[in-house]
C-alpha cells in the first residue's frame, strides 16, 4: 500500500442551511412543525378556558382578565396565526398524501397561497371577534 504523506482529505460535507436559497416548501415545512408545537402548548389555554367556564362566572372573569390583557391578546393572536397556518398547510399535506400537487411549481404556488391566506384569514377572524364584541 502506498503511504500518503499529506494529511487525509476532509470528507465532503453537504451545504449547510445558510448556503441554500430557501425553497418555499422548506419554509412551510419548518413552520408547520413550529406552529404544531405552538398549538400543542396552546391546548393549555383551551383547557383553561373550558375549565374556567365550567367553574362559574367569577373564575371565568379571571380567565377573561388574562385573555383581554395586552399580553393575553398577543398570545391569542399568535395562537390564531398558528392555528390558521397549520390548518391551511395541513390541507396541503392531505393533498400530497393523495399523491397530488407534488410538481415543484404547484407545491411552490400552494405554499405561497398559504403564506398569503394565513394573515388575511387571521385578520378576518379577529375582525369577526371584535365586531361581535362591539355588537354586544
Amino acid at each position: 500500500m502506498a503511504q500518503s504523506s499529506s494529511p487525509p482529505q476532509p470528507r465532503p460535507r453537504s451545504p449547510h442551511l445558510q448556503i441554500y436559497r430557501w425553497p418555499v416548501t422548506m419554509g412551510t415545512s419548518i413552520l408547520h412543525r413550529l406552529t404544531g408545537f405552538g398549538l400543542a402548548l396552546g391546548t393549555l389555554i383551551l383547557a383553561w378556558w373550558l375549565v374556567a367556564a365550567s367553574m362559574g362566572a367569577e373564575t371565568y372573569g379571571v380567565f377573561e382578565g388574562a385573555a383581554f390583557h395586552w399580553f393575553g391578546r398577543l398570545v391569542l393572536f399568535g395562537f390564531t396565526l398558528a392555528l390558521v397556518f397549520h390548518s391551511l398547510n395541513g390541507v396541503r399535506h392531505l393533498f400530497w398524501d393523495l399523491g397530488r400537487g407534488f410538481e415543484v411549481s404547484t407545491a411552490n404556488a400552494s405554499g405561497i397561497a398559504v403564506y398569503v391566506l394565513t394573515p388575511l384569514l387571521t385578520l378576518a377572524i379577529w375582525l369577526l371577534a371584535y365586531s361581535s364584541m362591539e355588537a354586544r
Binding site: 408545537f37 400543542a40 383551551l46 383547557a47 365550567s54 367553574m55 392555528l83 395541513g90 361581535s132
Partner: protein, 127 residues
C-alpha cells in the same frame, strides 16, 4: 419451527397492514379536525367577550358540547402524535427521550380529560 417460507410468512403483511398506525391516525385526525377547526374558530370569535351565562348556554347545547368534545379529543390525539415525532427527531439521549415521550402521552390524556370534564359539567349541570 415452522416450515413456512419467509415469503409465506410476510405475505399479506405488506404495506398498510401493520406499522402505519401512527401515520394513518395522524391523517384521520387531520381530516376530522378540518371542519371542527372551522366550527371552533367561528364559535370562539362570535362569543369573544360574551358574558359567562351566554358562553355556558352555548357550550351546554348538546350539539356544541359534542363538537367541542370531538375537537378536543381529535386535537389532543393529533397533538400527541405530532409531538411524539418531534421528540423522536431531536432528542438523542435514550432516557430523556423515553421520559419526554411518556410526558407527552400523559399530558395529552390529562389535558383531554380536563377539557372533557369541563365540557360535560357544563352540558349536564349547565353551571
Amino acid at each position: 419451527m415452522s416450515i413456512q417460507t419467509p415469503l409465506g410468512r410476510v405475505r399479506g403483511l405488506g404495506s398498510a397492514k401493520a406499522g402505519v398506525e401512527h401515520f394513518w391516525h395522524q391523517r384521520v385526525t387531520a381530516v376530522v379536525l378540518a371542519p371542527l377547526t372551522l366550527w371552533f374558530v367561528w364559535s370562539v370569535a362570535r362569543y369573544t367577550g360574551a358574558p359567562h351565562a351566554e358562553v355556558v348556554t352555548f357550550l351546554g347545547n348538546p350539539f356544541n358540547a359534542t363538537a367541542m368534545l370531538l375537537f378536543v379529543a381529535a386535537g389532543l390525539y393529533h397533538m400527541s402524535l405530532g409531538v411524539q415525532v418531534i421528540i423522536e427527531d431531536y432528542i438523542g439521549r435514550e432516557i430523556l427521550k423515553l421520559a419526554l415521550l411518556l410526558l407527552n402521552k400523559f399530558a395529552a390524556v390529562a389535558i383531554g380529560t380536563m377539557c372533557a370534564v369541563a365540557v360535560l359539567r357544563i352540558a349536564i349541570s349547565g353551571s
